[in-house]
Every structure is written in structure tokens, then in C-alpha cells.
Symmetry: C2
Subunit: 412 residues, 2 copies
Amino acid sequence: MIKAEIITIGDEILYGQITDTNTQWISAELDKIGIKTVRKSSVGDTEEAILGIFTEATSRADVVLVTGGLGPTKDDITKKTFCKFFGTELAIHEQAMADLKAFFLKRGREVTGLNKGQAELPLNATYIHNKLGTAPGMWFEANGVIYISMPGVPYEMKGLMTDAILPKLKEHFKTPTILHQIIRTVGIGESILAEKISDWEDALPENIKLAYLPSMGSVKLRLTGFGDSLEVLQAQIASEVAKLLPIAEEYIYALEDIELEVAVGRILKDKKLTVSTAESCTGGYLAHQFTKVAGSSSYFWGSIISYDNSVKINQLEVLPATLAQFGAVSEETIIQMAENVRKKLGTDIGLATSGIAGPDGGTPEKPVGTIWIAVSTKEQTITQKLQLGGFREQNIHLTSINILNLLRKVLK
Amino acid sequence: MIKAEIITIGDEILYGQITDTNTQWISAELDKIGIKTVRKSSVGDTEEAILGIFTEATSRADVVLVTGGLGPTKDDITKKTFCKFFGTELAIHEQAMADLKAFFLKRGREVTGLNKGQAELPLNATYIHNKLGTAPGMWFEANGVIYISMPGVPYEMKGLMTDAILPKLKEHFKTPTILHQIIRTVGIGESILAEKISDWEDALPENIKLAYLPSMGSVKLRLTGFGDSLEVLQAQIASEVAKLLPIAEEYIYALEDIELEVAVGRILKDKKLTVSTAESCTGGYLAHQFTKVAGSSSYFWGSIISYDNSVKINQLEVLPATLAQFGAVSEETIIQMAENVRKKLGTDIGLATSGIAGPDGGTPEKPVGTIWIAVSTKEQTITQKLQLGGFREQNIHLTSINILNLLRKVLK
């Protein structure tokens, strides 16, 4: 087993001033290539703390990944401390300086003052070009351990890992061939899904492991195969997926790691169908799920967010008598919302949501979390009543997932 | 200085399968009472790893806070490992058992099987009641160090910290009186703000510290005063805030820790004004910023999301000639969008956004990140052109912050 240790340097993380998303991402990526993280640590911007954790990590890990402390200011002492740790010193690295100059030139600026220091590296460092920023990545080999230094800015770190460091680690450690297969599900909880597929799971070959990765409203399955031959693994995993499909097909929306709104968007695009939304309780969140996907303008046309009943009446042409008799949170209202937004915006499909997101507005008959959703096509309008929980943000999110899933089923 | 170390136990966090939000929250809360976190660590569910970090932390910290590993299953070995570390053993704790039974009774169930183990504590533990779950909190004093054990479920941990542990720590360590004042700003970057207020910052009394807490599109300032008397601190901080206001008033939207949409919502509510949005590039995200706030239905009436030009023409009544001559991303179009949504939805104010969020759709004249926003009232329509960057989600978010800020200024 190849053991990794991840170290985050910076007072801001230590004092809780910023959120550290780097360590989770790095450990998940290492896991995918068969490297196990055994310790994650955050330390402050002091030489003593950094030297201490470097020494400890050296005794525990095969590879030590360090983020942060590479800025141009005095607070950032990672490089100097690496020098002290390795007994070496900083010097201008020619390629690093050339890349730094090119980086600034592209932005119409020159490398001045403090920024020049960004091209200085410890003499024993292998330089790794950071295309997205001024702090280089570095790779060290010493004490039988690999040390990797990266900037703390998440997209710069991810760029370095993906382009250079993960491939280099695979090569260096001659990691076994590993193949992952993601299976994304929706509409079923983790424990019920686990029960449903337990026979299949128990019969998986020894070299194929299953992980459940749940998030709110959705469970991700990950099959990981370990072996020598990629072809054999591909065939094995394909055969296992083929056995799983008949058991859980209705819940599986993708055999790759994409969100539900992306999967639904692709179906709409393929079928050349357009969609619009009429939203009350989701208040624009559903539209945002569609529109945050690049390229969604080819199938998503627009919405009428009818938070106030006057907007339901005047823009969505919901009959005042329906609202008076059944209320805004009712099957009668939701049908009109979905059908009318479809007709008014001229799309193939209309979606509608209306409910009590909370924390206020509940009644004994319609408690907080009572939500109606509808999907309307030219042929039919399908409705569903949801009974969700007590938290506003959760209700908005789960309503959105439920209606995207209902749409997915209608499209099948 | 009182030093804290925070330890997270669990393979799921170590392998990156779940996000750890606990350590950031804990360190931020400790910081507020004057306890400095010197190390954060995550280790796996093995006795060796847990004993190792306990020993290390004992030599570095005055208080060690541990989360996770308290479930009823075999994986969860925190309590057993504490016993080994302290040289003691587990025994049923009577109060813990009584509370456990009451917890289950409330849910119409009895304490059975594995769950009984939840009432077993190391003999040297001080029991802390967890009102929100079955895993008790524990407080140990040994080796001149305080050890605290809490469940990893975030809302259970937060409940324990807020109700019991933070007050107990304050008392135990006789921490000084600390007073915080949050000042939320928008519309100015961290470095320019720092320059603007540097004279004021330099003149702050010795016992008042300033922290910059930036997030995308907004900078939070936090003043922290240390002293003996709360009254003196309150007067001191009020006097410093009064000096700051004339320097940075145009950027300060709240003297408490609330988001911009909450602050703007309060102004709308106070002035009894209603608002609607016409959104192209934000695609519902702006409406969601309003509607995610509980109680927003009293001032937010609705939106027309006009992603497709047909919706701009048919629902928002933007003139086809305007779109043909100037395009959807233009001052001429945004004015019509804002004015027409205000009139059509019958609100006091209409907001509109139209731009190129990316990654595609840019041209040399209107590159990705070119965005027009407008705020329309009965008296006037104010427009602004934004030139943002290359990332879609960032452009959507920053557009929303910019228009909320423009609205805030108009309302003043």
C-alpha cells in the first residue's frame, strides 16, 4: 500500500477563516489511483510548525503533498522552510522565470518586485509549470519519500495535479491498473438501495470493490477494479454493470459522474425538446439548475417565477377561482401552472413547483414540506405530491431533484 | 495563549468521500473565545493512528477536540481507544442510559442491541448530554490537558459545542473577555479596501485586532477586542466603527454577519417595497438569492427568466427591433427588460440581467463576462456594464452580487 499524507499550510485555514476544499479533492484523486491517504494536517505559517509536520510525515508516508504558503509576501514561507528541511537554498530557476515573464506578458504586465521571487526554487526541486498562476509546483525526492508542493488556490492546484502530478505519481510508484466505474442513482435512499443490490454486491469478484457515496437526494455508486490488464478490468466491470442494470435500472440516470441536470439536459438536447418552468416554492432554483449548465440555452427557454399569487394569476393565467378554492399548494393549481407555462413560453415541456418550503406557512393539513410538482407535455400532465422535511434549503433542493427525476422518467 | 488541536476520526473523511465542515466551524468558534488552533488532523479508524495522534496532540496543545468514531458499529473505536489511552475501561453511565432511553422513547422505540453501547463511557469521562443524537459528548482531564470527544454529525457537534463545551472552555481557561464586531462590505476588493482604511487600521488600540475575511465578491471585516470589561470593549469598538464609517460607508452594507440578500431584503421590507427580476444570464440564480431567504415572499413577487429571445419578446415585451439592432446584451435591451418586468409584475422595482456567462458565446466586441444590469423604479432606470472573467459560475454569482449592491445603493 502506498501511503500519502496531505498538509495544508496557512493561518487562514487553521483559524477557520477560509474553507479548505483542497484536501478532500486531493485524497479522492489519490484514492482513484490506489494511493491511500493516512493523515491530513493543517498547520500555521510558522517555520517551527512546518518543519515539525515535515519530519513527522516523512516517518509515516511514501508521498507528502503540501498546499499553500507559496504567495509572494512575507507570510508565505513554504519554499524557505523546504530549503531548511532539505539543507539547500533558493535560486532563480530559468524555466520558471521564463514562464513567469510569459504569464505577466499575456496580461500586459512586467514581472516586478516581490513577484520575481515566484521564480525562485529550492535547488533540489523539480520544477512543475503552473499554467494558471504565478506559484510553480515542485517535486522533491529525499529520505526515500516524494514531497510535492502546490499553491493553495484550488483551481491552480487542480490544474497541476491533473496535468502533471497524478500522472507522475502513477509512473513513479508503478501503481496497479485501476479502473473506476461511476453509477449515478436518484430517487432511492442509500440503505434501501444497498438492500436491493446486496446479492449482486456480495457476488462481486474479489478484485472489484463497491463504494456508496451519498449526497442529498442522490446516491453515487463507485466500482473500483484492481488488476494488471486494463482490457480484462473493462470486460469485468462491464459485465457487473450489465448484471446491476435489471435490478436498479429505474434509479440509474448515468453511468458516468454527471449531475442529474446535466443528464436530463442531454436527453432534451438529443430529443430536440425545449423546456420552461413555472416556479413557486423553488423560486428560481430549478431554473438555475438548468442554466448553470453550459450550453443549456439550446433546450431551456425560460421561466415564470410566480412567488406572489398575483403573478400566478396575471402571468401564468392560473384561474383565481382555483386559487381561492384549492390554494396555491394544490394539484389543481400545479396543473395549470405547468400547462400554462408550456403554452405561454412555447416549449415542448412545462415544469411547475408549488409548496411550503418553510420555516413558516405550514398548516395542520399542509405542513411545511408539502410540495406539488408537475411535468406537462403536449400529451399529458403528470403530477406528484412530495412530503419533505422541515428545512427550507433542503426542501428547495430536494424539490428540484424530484422534478428533474420526474422529467427524466417522462422522457424515457 | 491557549492552544487547541482538532482531530477528525474516520476513513470517509481521510479518503475524501465526505466533506469535513466540522473542523473549520470548531476553529472559528474557538478563535472567537481567544483559543488558537495550532494543528488540525484527520486520521483513519485504526487504534494505532488514533493513539498516535492523541500522544502527539498531548505534547502540543492545552485542549484537544475530537470528532467522529462514536457510532454504535464496530468501525467506531474512539471510546475504546480513549480507554486504552487513559488506561481505563468502559462502563454504563447511568445518566447517559436514562437520556438514551428518553431519546428512543420520544421516537416510539426502545433501546436495543448495539444502541445500548451508546450509554457506555470511559470511567474517567465527564458526561455531556447530546440532545440531538445518541452519541454523548465527553470531557476528560488528564496529563494537564483537556480532551473533548464529540460525534461527527455536524448539527449534533454544533449543539454540544454551543450549549455546553464553549461555555465550559471559557470557564475552565478563564479566557479574557472578547468582543467581536462584524462589518460586511461589498463592491470593493480586499487590497483596495485595506489601502483605503490603512490609517484607521494602524491607529486601532493595541487590544483591538482586525481580520479580513474575503469571499467571492465580498469582504468581511472582523474587529476583535480583548479586555476585562465588556462595557469598556463595547464603547471602544463602537468608537472605532464610528471612525470607520465615514471612510468606507459606501461599501458597508451591514454591521452584523448577514448576507447581502438578507440586508437588501430587510430594506425592502422596511420601506414596504416589492421587487421582481427579469433574468437572462443569471437564469434564475438572482431570484433564488431572494427566495432562499425565509420570509422573502413579502417583498419578492416573481420573475420572468428570459433565456431564449422569444421569451424576451413575448413575455417581457422587449422590442424585436431593439434585439435586432443592439443584441440581447446591450443597454437598450436591459432597460426594457427592467422596466417591463416591473410594470408587468406590478412591483415597485424591476431588476434585469443580460450578459455572456460563458464559456461560449463571446465575441471580440462582447467577450465572455460582458454583462449588463439594470435597476428600474418608477422614477428612474439605472444601468451598469460589468466586465467579469471567464468562468460561468463565477460570472453568474458576481452578477447577482453586483445587482443586489446596485439595488442597495438605489434604495439608500
